[in-house]
């Protein structure tokens, strides 16, 4: 018998240029019964409301206007008819250059606290790339039968950065981020440069184009600059020979695969297909879009139109950030949600790894304590494919011996289907009053953070968000 329930999710994207919200309804379907291992999946995603697209309010060149952002959020919640307590899950993501503002962390945390109980904070160019790729429909594209085995690549070109994510068969295989975007140069109404990013100025200088604030930017020069940016993108995805400028323009790193299919999202993607005045938005966006249309992407690559352009990241944040645990899990005495717990990855993928687990875990917990990471951590490992009862008992004994220093509640996150039996064995070893969460079906790496939400699907499944957090 299949049961469904729905949750309301919000995505909030505070980007270099724009701030947007999306409200969606996610349908969770749980199947079980005769002959089927119980499983709960997100079976449908329906977008209930897309907000207006606002310019991200800034108070100076280095600070986000927290009050301004807050007003936008409150206004949009009111317009959508949602109160924070009606929101089950979601994510606030701070993207592009906004991430580099001095108060990015505090703004993000403040917003997530007024947006809803289990609305998580996330940041980091890699995560942003993945969310944009999912929001643009690129991941689904890679799952289409006709694209099996092909690498599909989404380029989310925003104001300050281009987030690249590559998918194959529905899996993320490579991500990267370059400092290329439509608003790296901004102009006033008379066509004078009022802002130019340092990196772009130097990149242009290499080609002998001198750009200074205060000077007038002609169409021809703008086209040259856009062509240079476009060439960097072409090299990054392998349409042009490798070029050192890719490394120079990388925010963190570029991708390391050669994609075959491309989708474009982000504000600049809208300028690829539709005609605008050259400097309609006071930046390079329109010309960059036009340059892309004439680029190797369209001449030599295969470009497929994205499901979402401007709103790809925010839809990704609202619809795709949540993961569901396996349906046989164990927890007790926990108060949900539990937010931003740092993950310590442990080696445990075969029975031989069990002995010494406690010692290794203890060492890594102490090391991370020395780094000042707080006193609550989640232990994560691959797990065993077909553990015997004895192996589970041994492992539980090892884990329970470090439960005193892992913080409350004791959190275990494994990939293989073994959380319920391990959780039960742990329960027998730690005092009855002590809280515990043991979930499976969720992969996370060392240094990630995990958020755990209120159990859904009759308490059988726990929603979780695994994320990277990188603030300046």
């Amino acid at each position: 018998m299949d049961k469904t329930e729905s949750v309301i999710s919000v995505g909030i994207d505070i980007g270099t240029t724009t701030t947007q919200l999306v409200f969606s309804r996610l349908t969770l379907q749980s199947s079980g019964g005769y002959g089927i291992t119980p499983k709960t999946v997100v079976s449908d995603k329906e977008i209930l409301r897309r907000s207006h697209i606002y310019f991200t309010p800034l108070t100076g060149s280095d600070t986000i206007d927290a009050q301004g952002v807050r007003r936008i959020i409150e206004q949009e919640y009111a317009a959508a008819g949602f109160r924070p307590e009606m929101i089950d899950t979601g994510a606030v993501i701070i993207t592009g250059e906004s991430l580099r503002k001095s108060n990015s962390r505090s703004v993000c945390e403040e917003i997530s606290s007024i947006a809803g109980d289990f609305v998580v904070t996330s940041a980091g160019p890699d995560l942003e790339s993945v969310l944009a790729g999912k929001g643009a429909g690129c991941m689904e594209l890679s799952e289409q039968p006709e694209n099996l085995g092909k690498i599909c690549c989404n380029l989310d070109i925003g104001g300050g950065t281009t987030n690249i994510a590559c998918f194959r068969g529905g899996e993320t295989i490579s991500v990267g981020c370059l400092d290329i975007g439509g608003r790296l140069i901004r102009l006033d109404s008379s066509g004078r440069i009022i802002y130019i990013s340092d990196k772009l100025r130097k990149l242009a200088e290499r080609s002998g184009i001198m750009l200074e604030t205060g000077s007038v930017l002609g169409t021809e020069t703008a086209e040259q600059v856009c062509r240079i940016m476009c060439e960097v993108l072409e090299s990054a995805v392998g349409l042009a020979p490798p070029n050192e400028t890719v490394g120079y323009m990388a925010t963190n790193h570029s991708i390391d695969v050669l994609p075959e299919l491309f989708t474009f999202s982000g504000g600049v993607a809208d300028c690829i297909s539709s005609e605008h005045e050259n400097f309609e938005f006071g930046d390079l966006g329109v010309i960059l879009g036009r340059t892309l249309r004439r680029s190797k992407f369209f001449r030599e690559g295969r470009v497929i139109s994205a499901a979402e352009t401007m709103r790809a990241t925010v839809i990704g944040a609202g619809n795709c950030s949540i993961e569901l645990s396996g349906s046989t899990i164990e927890y007790r005495n926990c108060v949900f949600p539990i937010k931003s717990v740092p993950v310590l990855r442990q080696r445990l993928s075969c029975a031989a790894d069990i002995s010494g687990f406690a010692e290794r875990a203890r060492r890594s917990i102490e090391n991370c304590g020395a780094l000042g990471a707080g006193n609550h951590i989640a232990l994560s490992f691959a797990g065993l494919k077909n553990p015997s009862f004895d192996e589970i008992e041994q492992l539980a004994a090892e884990i329970s011996s470090v439960s005193d220093i892992a913080g409350d509640p004791l959190m275990i996150v494994v990939e293989e289907d073994m959380a319920k039996v391990l959780g039960q064995a742990l329960k027998r070893r730690i005092p009855r009053s002590e809280p515990l969460i043991c979930i499976d079906g969720i992969a996370c790496g060392d240094g990630d953070f995990i958020d755990i939400g209120e159990p859904v699907s009759g308490g059988r499944v726990i929603p979780a968000v695994v994320k990277t957090l990188i603030f300046r």
Binding site: G149, F389, V421
Partner: protein, 265 residues
């Protein structure tokens, strides 16, 4: 044309147990063309894809694998559970009214009944009216007992006992059918009766097990009063995790005083 073996190139296919190779690693193709696509297919399903062919015929390894799987499935049905296994599990053994495997296969009705003498043995050796009575049956797949019960039974008991639930005396039933549950329940009157029984094997696995559970099982209970956890094997639901799940289901049955269709779990 190069031939792609995921099978170890040195494997002598005529002189090894092909059924030991997980189906997801069993692949034999003529070239590397569309390698990633095949890898995705293989990962997504344990079905026989990417096994190669010559003209309209399977390759030798694939053809042998078919036969090997077919026979191990047939064997699993025909085989007896060795006495050694029953002993190692620390169980005592009884037999249904079936005199042989053949009779069990042809007379399911006898596979659920005991002689008066056997009834007496069960009645004398077992604790009466426990919260839960668990017993093991060979069913249609004998190897599943040795493959899964050593992991499942202690895990179920440990979880139940921690919750303060009493578990009755376990035993092994030879030539056992699912509905033996009704007969055992009428003898010992547990609140919940649970049989761990080998399930009909297929080409994928000849070691899988089911747990059939019922609250207040009786001769006149309905089939829909059973709650079933099936497909327990190393290629299905891992036995340890299944055991933990079964323990929780039993706990829910005791709380809700029902099972099968009426159970909310």
């Amino acid at each position: 044309m190069s031939r792609v073996f995921t099978l170890d190139g040195n494997t002598d296919i005529l002189n090894c147990d092909l059924t030991n190779i997980p189906m997801q690693e069993f692949s034999e193709r003529d070239s590397d063309e569309n390698k990633e696509v095949y890898e995705q297919y293989k990962k997504a399903t344990p079905a026989r894809v990417g096994i190669g062919h010559t003209g309209s015929r399977y390759h030798t390894a694939a053809a042998l694998r078919f036969q090997a799987d077919q026979y191990s499935a047939a064997n699993a049905v025909q085989m007896e559970v060795p006495e050694r296994v029953v002993k190692e599990l620390g169980l005592f053994e009884v037999q249904t009214k079936c005199a042989s495997k053949y009779e069990m296969l042809t007379r399911p009705d006898l596979g659920r009944l005991f002689t008066e003498e056997t009834k007496k043995i069960i009645s004398e050796r077992c604790v009466h009216e426990p919260d839960v009575q668990i017993f093991i049956g060979d069913g249609l797949c004998s190897p599943s007992v040795e493959a899964n019960v050593p992991t499942m039974y202690p895990a179920i008991c440990a979880a139940l006992e921690y919750e303060g639930i009493t578990v009755g005396t376990p035993f092994f039933v030879r030539y056992c059918r699912v509905n033996t549950v009704r007969t055992v329940a009428e003898l010992l009157h547990p609140k919940v009766t649970c049989v761990l029984i080998g399930e009909r094997p297929g080409l994928l696995t000849s070691q899988s097990m089911s747990a059939y559970m019922a609250y207040n099982a009786r001769y006149d209970m309905l089939e829909s009063d059973y709650t079933v956890v099936s497909n327990i094997s190393r290629v299905g639901m891992p036995p340890a995790e299944a055991a933990a799940n079964i323990a929780d289901i039993i706990k829910a049955m005791l709380e809700q005083k029902t099972s099968g269709y009426g159970l909310k779990y």
